[in-house]
């Protein structure tokens, strides 16, 4: 049955419809695969097989995702399941409702299955900030899977999930997808409802799919998008079929290469793989045009002011009163708050809350937060200018391949710089996708490299078409980690 878990969503659905196997067969094969490989990957925090099996046994396979199990990042609420955000703060928490994306998945016949590990409250780039376990990269289990949606990417790469949902605030879908050799899409801001996603930075967060192919990402996007009265920032847009431009080529497509995304200090082997991929796009008919995004070098600084400011406000809800960890025997209310939060949050979350509180505090607001919001405008304008000349941008997803577990944990700034090519996308609210574009060899391991395409806001259909044309021609997405 291990073969079954190698199938993409579209192949799996074709099998259901031919009667080769049933959704229950697929779920059993998936669970057997998880039991076999997850002890070495540790992508899953928990799963409820019986509930999923009951759903699989009565699902209508003719629905858009009928019978397809989808793994869920532990920041997205699924009714009755745990939702810890990989934090001790939410140990034992059971979701009292479904996130909108989960309700939409269910309506489309998909079966939410399994809670996937992440950096605590989505803060991190390596999944090492999980309070529970260290997820390992299936291509080299001494290395990190990327983050924060590390479990969502590693499980897809290890063939212990067909596809998953992650969330992306500054690269948390695309960077782990790149480092694990799978496809990850961050939709434009407002495309997908955030209702039921535990909030980190509300002006940047988006939920999106991670899968083995661009086509599978498009199928998932078809299901999870739409205006939601529970999220006032979700956009009311005409219905769109995101698979409409798949299967095409790159003839006449104008791809911009932002010169600022090829920086000193990036891994030269990663750079050369990305340059080969750009050459490949040219051979496939694309017109390659150099463009400039002049404020790129400010993006990380802007992000760590805006994201931490928003996080400090959002995470104020964890006060140990209505849910979450509460310290024992508090002396008074202040002691209750201070010790509940000290005991419940891990180091990175505390660091970011403190930084966010500082940049919003009286006397510093103008110097940090307001200034960062103004530079955010300049970064957005860079993209607007670039998209006047090109259909999409093409660039690396991450300056490095997967690094060793433990290598950067004591150096937050260096960890933050891992997001240098993904962060500006969120600041601008545009869409981006990472697809596999080759490998680099490091200490005897073949490590995947991600190629990123960025599209203007709400241009997912075209972006997916471009990514699919490259991904299909290049063929790296069909390669699987040799060790698992």
């Amino acid at each position: 049955m291990s073969k079954l878990t190698d199938l993409s969503i579209s192949e799996l659905q074709a099998g259901f419809r031919r009667g080769d196997f049933t959704p229950a067969d697929a779920l059993r094969a998936l669970e057997a695969r998880i039991a076999a490989v997850d002890p070495s990957i540790e992508a899953y925090l928990s799963r409820d097989f019986e509930t999923a099996l009951a759903a699989a046994e009565k699902v209508d396979i003719n629905l858009p995702l009928g019978g397809v199990p989808i793994g869920i990042k532990d920041a997205i609420n699924v009714l009755g399941e745990s939702c810890t955000c990989a934090s001790k703060m939410l140990a034992g928490f059971k979701s009292p409702y479904d996130a909108t994306v989960i309700a939409k998945l269910r309506a489309a016949g998909a079966i939410p299955y399994g809670r996937l590990n992440m950096d605590e409250f989505a803060m991190g780039s390596s999944t090492e900030n999980s309070a529970y376990q260290k997820t390992r990269n299936p291509w080299d289990t001494t290395r990190i899977p990327g983050g924060s949606s590390g479990g969502s990417a590693a499980s897809v790469a290890a063939r212990e999930a067909f596809a998953t949902l992650g969330s992306d605030t500054g690269g948390s879908i695309r960077q782990p997808a790149a480092l694990c050799g799978v496809v990850g899409l961050k939709p434009s801001y407002g495309r997908v409802s955030r209702y039921g996603l535990v909030a980190f930075a509300s002006s940047l967060d988006q939920i999106g799919p991670i899968a083995r192919t661009t086509r599978d990402c498009a199928s998932l996007l078809n299901v999870i998008t739409g205006k939601d009265s529970q999220d006032s920032t979700s956009l009311d847009l005409p219905a769109e079929d995101f698979t409409a431009k798949l299967g095409g080529d790159l003839k006449g497509v104008k791809l911009g290469v932002p010169k600022e995304y090829f920086v000193d200090g990036m891994n030269p082997s990663v750079r050369s793989q990305v340059e080969s991929a750009i050459q490949r796009c040219k051979e496939l008919g694309a017109e390659i045009i150099e463009v400039s995004l002049p404020h790129t070098s400010y993006a990380v600084g802007v992000y760590y002011i805006i994201a931490t400011a928003e996080a400090s406000a959002n995470l104020a809800r964890f006060d140990g009163v209505r849910y979450g960890h509460r310290a024992k025997n508090p002396r008074d209310l202040l002691d209750h708050y201070m010790r509940s939060r000290e005991e419940g949050f891990g180091s990175e979350v505390k660091r970011r809350i403190i930084l966010g509180t500082y940049v919003l505090s009286s006397g510093y607001y103008d110097a940090y937060y307001l200034r960062a919001q103004k530079v955010r405008t300049m970064i957005r304008q860079d993209f607007t200018n670039a998209f006047e000349k090109v259909d999409a941008l093409i660039c690396p997803t991450s300056p490095d391949a997967a690094f060793k577990i433990g290598e950067r944990v004591d150096d937050p700034l260096r960890m933050y710089l891992a997001d240098i090519f993904t962060i500006a996308t969120n600041l601008a609210g545009i869409c981006g996708i990472s697809v596999p574009c080759g490998f680099v060899e490091e200490s005897g391991s073949q490590l995947p490299v991600g190629l990123q395409f960025l599209g203007k806001a709400l241009d997912e259909t075209r972006l997916l078409g471009i990514a699919d044309a490259y991904e299909t021609a290049a063929g790296f997405s069909s390669q699987r980690p040799p060790g698992v």
């Binding site: 407002g190 708050y337 000290e342 660091r351 403190i354 505090s361 307001l370 405008t377 937050p412």
Partner: protein
């Protein structure tokens, strides 16, 4: 932007987080470096630039003022660290 003014203990208290001595020392130096890094924003001229608060400018989203079903009392209390008599029990506020 004078980052040396960051007093981690003071800000942590504003954020209602108790810190160990070790955390205070480590965070002080780590966040000092992060703040030094963001000093680069100071080199840009932002005169006349409007701030961006949101990726999509959406303002005053209103809905009809009608009630919708919400969580039951039981569901709302299920995750409370301490509850009794259908209420959340909180730490004493008034002496």
């Amino acid at each position: 932007m004078s980052s040396p003014n960051l007093d981690v203990r003071d800000v942590a208290r504003l954020a209602r987080i108790e810190l160990t001595d070790e955390e205070a020392t480590t965070f002080q130096s780590q966040l000092g470096r992060v703040l030094e890094y963001v000093e680069q924003l100071k080199t840009l001229d932002v005169t006349g630039v409007e701030p961006t608060a949101h990726a999509n400018p959406v303002f005053n989203v209103l809905r009809e003022d009608v009630s919708h079903p919400g969580l039951t009392r039981e569901a709302a209390l299920a995750n409370a660290p301490h509850s009794a008599n259908n209420l959340v029990v909180v730490t004493k506020v008034i002496e």
